[in-house]
């Protein structure tokens, strides 16, 4: 599911690197998994926090989850957000792999609000270009 970015395009995007490329550019939920011990971790790092391994796969996670917390931001802290407030930010706990929490925005909720326990499904922004790196697709959650 692709949709326009919930927040203004002028807001910064992630700097893409070797470990976050799958998560930020694939348009899928791709979670870092250690090749040595199989541990899952998010956000991705250059190091496995369980066994110390340096080599990873990026496995597909389930695109559904539950809102475990949120805030409604009313005070803009970035010039790009001046006309975007109020807006929501949600933390979603994925159904699979279990225990993984990802930060995103909830699109199409009632008056930009969110609720703990709300069931959501992942969608993505259309690709966002920044010079010198692959186009980024950011998570945008939709109510189920």
């Amino acid at each position: 599911m692709k949709s326009q970015r919930y927040l203004p395009d002028a807001l910064p995007v992630p700097e893409v690197n070797d470990v976050n490329r799958a998560f930020f550019t694939s348009g899928e939920i791709r979670i870092q998994t250690c090749q040595a011990c199989g541990s899952v971790q998010h956000p991705p790092l250059e190091l496995c926090c369980t066994c110390g391994g340096f080599a990873f796969d990026y496995i597909a996670g389930q695109s559904s989850g539950t809102v475990c917390s949120y805030t409604i931001v009313h005070h803009p802290t970035h010039s790009a957000l001046a006309d975007a407030v109020p807006y929501n930010v949600v933390i979603v706990e994925l159904d699979q792999p279990p225990g993984v929490r990802v930060i995103g925005n909830l699109v199409g909720g009632i008056e930009n609000r969110a609720e703990i326990g709300q069931r959501v499904v992942a969608g993505w922004t259309t690709p966002i270009e920044r010079e010198g790196q692959a186009p980024v697709q950011l998570l945008q959650w939709h109510p189920i």
């Binding site: 927040l7 956000p43 931001v73 009313h74 970035h78 929490r101």
Partner: protein
Amino acid sequence: MHGRAAVVGLGESTYYRPGRSPHSALQLAATAIRAAVADAGLVMADIDGLVTWHTPLDTSLRSANLASWLGFGNLRFAANPTSGGGNLSAAAVGLADAAVTAGYANNVVVYRSLNQGEKRYGRSLDEEVVSDENAYRTPFGLGAPAAFNAVLSTKYMHDHGVRQDALAEIALASYAHAQNNPRAIMYGKPLTREQYHASRWIAEPFHLYDCCQESDGACAMVVTSSERAADAPQHPAFIQASANGMVPDGGLWGFNDGAFPSGRYRPVGEELWQRAGVRPTDIDVAQFYENFTGTTMMAIADLGFCEPGELNDFLADGRLRAPDGGLPINTSGGNLAEAYIHGLQLVNEAVRQVRNESVNQVPHVELSLSVAGPGTPPGSTVLFSRSRP
């Protein structure tokens, strides 16, 4: 019990609204440090240690430069606690305590100086791309500490049934105390419960009055050995114990730690009480870092003053108010209503309570606690006593 070092000198500049200081960060630092050294009955040449901290968002004064510019003696110890910001004020005092106790330095200055006209807090940086942990936050509008701590607090309040009025109690205590403190930026600006609830949202569940100020100013203290403290002109505040740290996975990014939602420093409390040989109920007065009231709420529970599910009752009924509440907190007005010198001004107030010099003095203070963080781990604590342990 510990107590081999003590705070013997306090100093501070005037506190200003952000960007209003007529003095630079260096001038503010010099003002506070000179006052603290004089208060300790010392001269600059007696100072041989320096502890402070900076963040990438503020003016950095290099320790070597400052020591030379202010005329310290041989600099034998210089260190910064790491990493974060307002979680470090008690850790800075703990570091000075460790240096003095180990004999690495005799008289250590701990200071913090902020001039928001030079560098500004509380905003995202204007960048095209963001890296590290910010890559997972800023693009989604989670761009500043108010929002980071808001999502933490929303979940915590949901899980433990904490009501908005519990947060209000923390803000109201700080503002009430500031009304007796001419140094406080919010002196003469009392806050009512109605004004609190009617104030605009910053990031839910934080109203305007749940959020700390940004301020210009500096404060400083001198830490020396308990033996030398016996000759000091002021009553020493003995460092009975300091503890800092976090749970093992408290440093994971993006709210993926196992202690979410909490202040992530329950073990810090356990260690503090064990080291000091006292319990939370023994504490006469406490200064809790409030970057936001939500983090203070979590600190109170993490350190064992009550269970998370008891916060609504624990924070109510004037318990947080000086002089006679059960746990008076933030008796100079705190970050919310006195000034935000990254929380170090709260440590100064903890010492004043031991010295019997607070504008909201709690009677017969024997144990005075200062708590830094949580929010950004590792958090830190320092416990002062009036009697030499």
